[in-house]
């Protein structure tokens, strides 16, 4: 039984948490849209930093960022885009196929492989970064897209998510397809994957976030701007004096937009799965 005061307390706690999450976002958007750098500096000292009067909205900062020749943001975003889209699309197939084999085929050592993949989830990128870098430079992949794509396609957590989902799909569906003459791959493609849209969406969002925001590895493996992702460019932009806050925040907004778009594009698939409706009466 929750009393009125308890509910009020919960509401306050929730609001505080939400405020902590949203405040930086408000600051980012508000500052990016303010045209007057002096006004921004004054506002940063008070609550007005989180707010902008609608009449003051201007895209001056965005124009400046997009026109900046030393930091070609569109080029960096394109780099990030190529890297993330490659990882995510190839990853969906590679990881789901691995999971399909684990969920549907009998072979000795299967459980060991599953345990191994789960164990891999907890190994952080940082701990393998140096050996991986040595490998990349040994095969001459430094400063390339592929150095930022190939090592990250296989993704233990994605395999695990797919595996769990596939294991819950009734085997009757596979058998019905098999009796009707479908091969394993055909079953994967026409039955299992279409039923897995929610998991595909989850995996796509997780992996895009992870690699859109990647910092350490690109820092190690890129030198010039050819293959450098936008995350790294932002850091460099930040550390180039003097700081122009309006431009910095406009840069940040531009960098955040694609990931927000990806999230909203995929999130409707999160909502529900249709599994189960073909089973039983």
């Amino acid at each position: 039984m929750t009393t009125k005061s308890e509910r009020l307390l919960l509401l306050i706690v929730a609001l505080v948490v939400v405020a902590f999450v949203l405040a930086p976002l408000f600051l980012m958007f508000a500052t990016a849209l303010k045209p007057d750098e002096n006004q921004i500096l004054r506002d940063l000292g008070n609550a007005h930093a989180f707010w902008i009067n609608p009449s003051d909205i201007s895209f001056k900062n965005f124009e400046a960022v997009l026109a900046n020749k030393t930091f070609p943001i569109l080029r960096y975003m394109l780099n990030s885009g190529i890297i993330v889209v490659s990882i995510v699309t190839i990853g969906i197939f590679v990881n789901s196929l691995a999971a399909f084999a684990l969920a549907r085929m009998q072979f000795t050592g299967r459980n060991l492989v599953i345990a191994f993949i789960v164990a891999l989830i907890i190994i952080p990128m940082e701990s393998v970064a140096i050996p991986l870098l040595l490998m990349m430079s040994a095969i001459g992949w430094v400063d390339t897209y592929k150095a930022q794509i190939i090592p990250f396609i296989a993704h233990p957590f994605s395999i695990f998510l797919f595996y769990q989902f596939f294991a819950a799909i009734p085997k009757d569906l596979d058998e019905a397809a098999y009796v009707a003459g479908a091969s394993k791959l055909r079953t994967y493609w026409t039955i299992i994957m279409p039923l897995s849209l929610p998991t595909i969406a989850t995996v796509a969002i997780l992996q895009s976030l992870e690699y859109w925001n990647a910092y350490l590895w690109p820092l190690m493996v890129t030198r010039g701007s050819d293959a450098r992702p936008v995350s790294l460019a932002l850091a460099q932009f930040f550390s180039t004096p003097p700081p122009v806050w309006g431009n910095l925040m406009a840069f940040s907004v531009l960098m955040s937009l694609p990931i927000l778009i990806v999230y909203f594009a995929f999130q409707r698939w999160f909502i529900q799965s249709t599994i189960g409706s073909g089973i039983k009466g």
């Binding site: 003459g181 073909g278 009466g281």
Partner: protein, 361 residues
């Protein structure tokens, strides 16, 4: 012609024998029912015929071809699953067409075959729905439709009605029987419901513990059960089993008695039975009447009485301490607690020896 032969078919999972050497010869166009208690291996046997389970040893032929190592699609079979196993993301049309699409048939032919099946199964109006928008009975028909369009020699059904409610089950049962008549294909149907078995089958295979206890026409199993298991499994209400002793024997009769039971002479193989041997007498409830004269009787008191109208179902506790159920004429005057004498129709009595085998002549 697609006769189906099983020769010494066995299946073991690890070192557990599940199917222990089954021989069956099924003729083209027969409706065969596998019936038996839960866990006796019905589904396993069906799945071996389908090609979903490997055969540990023995041989299965369909239309004279050994199919042991052929994948399901090359066996000319189609299977209807207990869970229906419809593809949830596909429309009814695509579900039915699935096998044909896989086989790469031309779009036109697929459409024609799907339309045919939909007409037979009255699914015309539902072709564009998803399985989730169908009732249980409709899903069932889609699952059957998916089998029909492939025009197989042998249809395999694994408990197709078990997810339907009682009324729908009776309907669908009739529809499946009609389908069998119309298509003329061989059908193998698994159930643990002996009523389904009796009503649908040309021949029934009664399975128990991985072996066939008897294989024959429904009325043959009902009239001439080979053993106690089949006698108890086929028929509803169940056959009564009463422990008795052989009083005297001849080559083709055995006279027996039990406490409270007047001497009763039954035609049976008496040659190897010694007087005094313990036997089991089997008598179906519908072959018992209330005795009004001097016929041999089994005395006891009525402990349960249900008036069904044209018949009365009674349970009698006999003097020997056994309970015997009987379906007697609806006009008989019996009351709960009355002492009655039951008369067993000697020509309908079954005798089983200590190995549970019938002593039928």
């Amino acid at each position: 012609m697609a006769d189906l032969h099983l020769t010494q078919v066995r299946k073991c999972f690890g070192n557990v024998d599940i199917i222990k050497g089954i021989d069956l010869a099924i003729r083209h166009g027969e409706f065969i029912v596998f019936v038996g208690p839960s866990g006796c291996g019905k589904s396993t046997l069906l799945r071996m015929i389908a090609g979903l389970e490997e055969i540990s040893s023995g041989e299965i032929t369909i239309g004279g071809r050994v199919v042991n190592d052929l994948p399901p699609k090359e066996r000319s079979i189609a299977m209807v699953f207990q869970s229906y196993a419809l593809f949830p993301h596909m429309t009814v049309r695509d579900n039915i067409a699935f096998g044909l699409t896989i086989a790469g048939e031309p779009r036109k032919e697929i459409d024609a075959k799907v339309a045919d099946a939909a007409r037979i199964l009255k699914l015309d109006a539902l072709l564009d729905r998803k399985p989730s928008q169908l009732s249980g009975g409709q899903r069932q028909r889609v699952a059957i439709g998916r089998a029909i369009v492939r025009n197989p020699d042998v249809f395999l059904f694994d408990e197709p009605l078990s997810n339907l409610d009682a009324a729908l089950r009776v309907n669908t049962r009739a529809e499946i029987a009609k389908l069998h008549r119309d298509l003329g294909a061989t059908m193998i149907y698994v159930t643990h419901d002996q009523v389904e078995a009796m009503t649908l089958a040309d021949r029934i295979a009664v399975l128990d513990g991985g072996v066939v206890r008897q294989f024959g026409a429904p009325m043959d199993l009902y009239r001439y059960p080979d053993n106690l298991f089949v006698a108890g499994f086929i028929g509803s209400p169940k056959m009564n089993f009463i422990p008795v002793k052989a009083l005297s024997v001849s080559a083709d009769t055995i006279t027996l008695n039990a406490e409270g039971l007047d001497a009763l002479t039954v035609a049976a193989k008496g040659a190897e039975i010694l007087p005094g041997t313990a036997l089991t007498l089997g008598i179906r409830p519908e072959h018992i009447t209330i005795s009004h004269g001097a016929t041999p009787r089994h005395q006891g008191s009525v402990v349960l009485l249900e008036r069904l109208g044209h018949q009365i179902f009674i349970e009698v506790a006999t003097l020997g301490g056994h309970s015997v159920t009987a379906l007697i004429d609806g006009e008989e005057e019996v009351e709960l607690g009355h002492t009655v004498g039951l008369t067993y129709d000697a020509s309908k009595c079954h005798l089983f020896d200590k190995n549970a085998d019938s002593l039928r002549l």
